[in-house]
Symmetry: C2
Subunit: 390 residues, 2 copies
């Protein structure tokens, strides 16, 4: 196990009706003016936004609003948010929505007190020293941004999707009411679940030895997803299953399960290109990418894949042929995702073989590599995209 | 799953040599004078105390020291610590040691700014509104106090052992260097491991339904203990196994695995009487108490015990007779603890059948009950103590 530092100071307020506490929670932070930052009309139609505003009103907290965050949020709305916060002297940003609203709120947060262009942080030029506090009211179990130290924004010009990781940007509090996710359509629920599972895989596949405790925690969360997701697919109103998935989504990505071990996020990079080109949900793209990435990299550490296959996917260990077990685990993952209505091949998301060289090239590896479990060259990435074909 | 709030803001600095960061970490909190609070001579003999002092010196942080904390720490040293902190204008308490030093430090922390008697908090009369910050350098994986919101102190007069739980008392930072635990004798290592496993059982046995994610997390940590503890028993210098156990000890008790579910801490209460009467380590007592508590309560929810038996202890599920599986799980737990040199019967810790009515009476239930999975009367507690007999 490697040395590490871990601090997850976010206050999580979890359960039915908890969004009505938002006003009091904001007040406890000492904030005096809030930017409510949200996406499309669903939070308006559902009445959630009204309940949030009523709670802020009751606590005597003034606010301004900025809606219109799109999936895979772009720099454009971040610049708008920064300007609005400065003009209105906002001192806390409240994201009401999913990962897109939260990631965008985090970008606004670090942008407001910074004199330069917030993109400096996402392009790796600078590290933020200050941020406006960000709080969240979560409406989908997926990105884990409600507890994480990361944010992903797309630069519209050139459609570059880049992540920023910094302890400073963890939310001060996050309200998680699983009932708010009951109205999600199946494809969004399933894509969110794939995103959660991907966050676990990205920590699981490591070259760090002797990481039993984090291995077991990863496996625990995956087993939970296998147990709970089919219940939600069968009955979207299953509050209890929604609750188990929502908490899993947070634990999967606040990095408790990833400490002390090398992680490999190349799948995320490979997926970002799919989202960008085909306009699909990040989680749906991950369901396509992961089986291919696994098949391509499994020979690097067959026993780790066999461990996942037996401990999580209930495969019988083939002691004479561990590779067979490893492969069976990947097939069960595909079957599981497929049974939940997720795409698992490039064609399922409208992708075509002839796009592959563009997709691989746009990642911009040049002569370099990405990832750590197996460092991938552009040629490796092409190989992985090809394994996504039906 | 029940509604809950969870916040674990402690900064964990984990790994080899991390105790040399203590000066800088104290400085970052803004503290200006430290009380170093520790137990016996081992932290002196090992040179740890000198390294801690050197780090504080290098950071320009003055300190005073108060050693002599005993296992099952008492109110006497807490009063001493409170007086010393007030006299010396201490503004951060640094516990260097295990659960005893940390619990005692937490009691001093809430006692210093309080005008009344700190015991008011432990006797349930008052809730603390302020505390001096507490930080830790951990020397044994056991109590989980390095990340928890709880503390247990024994009042010497009448030897009443009482716990206090309050979010305020979570440490501000905790330094976890597994190498510091390599010099522990086997009996202390094993007792610490039993304490960790007990913290998981106390959360696992619940009447709350639909808690798959926390069930799985509990099971993950138990599986880790089964995997790692025998390695440490075989080779006390196995750093990697020590590391896995040390992080498990924290996660087992900062309550991440216990959120949204009823918990049952009656075993802790039953054990406290064993520690008090026979002067044994808390963990060793828990190894005696738990199998008996499990046998006594298993009929309340046989399937939950069978789930533990199959998922953690690798028992074959006997679908025709789940009780047989449940019982086999308890037997495997006993065999595991026994193989690690832990006591599992009352006589193993010097207990006698004729002490049982005193032990049960001293808990002071009167006509009341304790616990929630199965509320226990004094007569139930007697039944449990009897099941500890060989």
């Amino acid at each position: 196990m490697d040395n590490f530092t871990f601090q997850s100071p976010t206050k999580f307020v979890f359960g039915k009706g908890t969004e009505t506490q938002v006003g009091d929670l904001v007040k406890q932070t000492g904030a005096t003016k809030v930017l409510i930052h949200f996406g499309g009309g669903s939070v308006q139609r559902s009445g959630l936004l009204d309940r949030v505003k009523a709670s802020l009103d009751a606590a005597g907290i003034p606010y301004v609003s900025l809606g219109g965050v799109l999936p895979n949020p772009t720099d454009k709305i971040v610049y708008e948010g920064i300007e609005l916060c400065r003009k209105e002297n906002v001192d806390l940003i409240l994201a009401v929505g999913g990962g897109s609203s939260i990631d965008s709120a985090k970008a606004i947060g670090v942008g407001v007190p910074y004199e330069g262009d917030f993109w400096d942080f996402y392009s790796g030029k600078k590290h933020a020293k200050k941020t406006l506090p960000v709080a969240t009211v979560l409406t989908i179990a997926a990105a884990g941004s409600e507890g994480s130290e990361s944010s992903v924004i797309t630069k519209e010009e050139g459609s570059f999707k880049r992540g920023y990781t910094e302890e400073l940007i963890r939310p001060v509090f996050s309200i998680l009411n699983p009932a708010l996710t009951q109205t999600l359509p199946q494809n969004q629920t399933a894509a969110g679940a794939a995103d959660i599972m991907a966050h676990i895989f990205e920590r699981y596949y490591t070259n760090t030895l002797d990481v039993e405790v984090t291995d077991r925690l990863c496996e625990a969360l995956l087993l939970t997803m296998l147990h709970e997701l089919p219940k939600v697919i069968a009955d979207p109103n299953d509050y209890e299953a929604r609750a188990n998935i929502m908490w899993t989504g947070m634990v999967a990505h606040n990095n408790l399960i990833g400490v002390g071990r090398q992680q490999d996020w190349s799948s995320h990079g490979i997926e970002h290109e799919l989202s960008a080109l085909y306009g699909i949900a990040h989680g749906a793209g991950l369901a396509v990418v992961f089986p291919a990435w696994m098949k391509y990299t499994m020979h690097h550490d067959v026993m780790r894949f066999a461990q996942m296959a037996t401990r999580v996917f209930g495969c019988d260990m083939d002691f004479a042929n561990p590779e067979r077990t490893a492969r069976m685990g990947i097939e069960r993952l595909e079957a599981f995702w497929s049974s939940c209505g997720l795409p698992i091949r490039l064609q399922d998301v409208g992708g075509r073989e002839e796009d592959i060289s563009y997709l691989a090239g746009h990642i911009g590896l040049g002569d370099g590599t990405m990832g750590s479990f197996v460092p991938l060259t552009t040629s490796d990435v092409i190989g992985i995209y090809k394994l996504m074909l039906r």
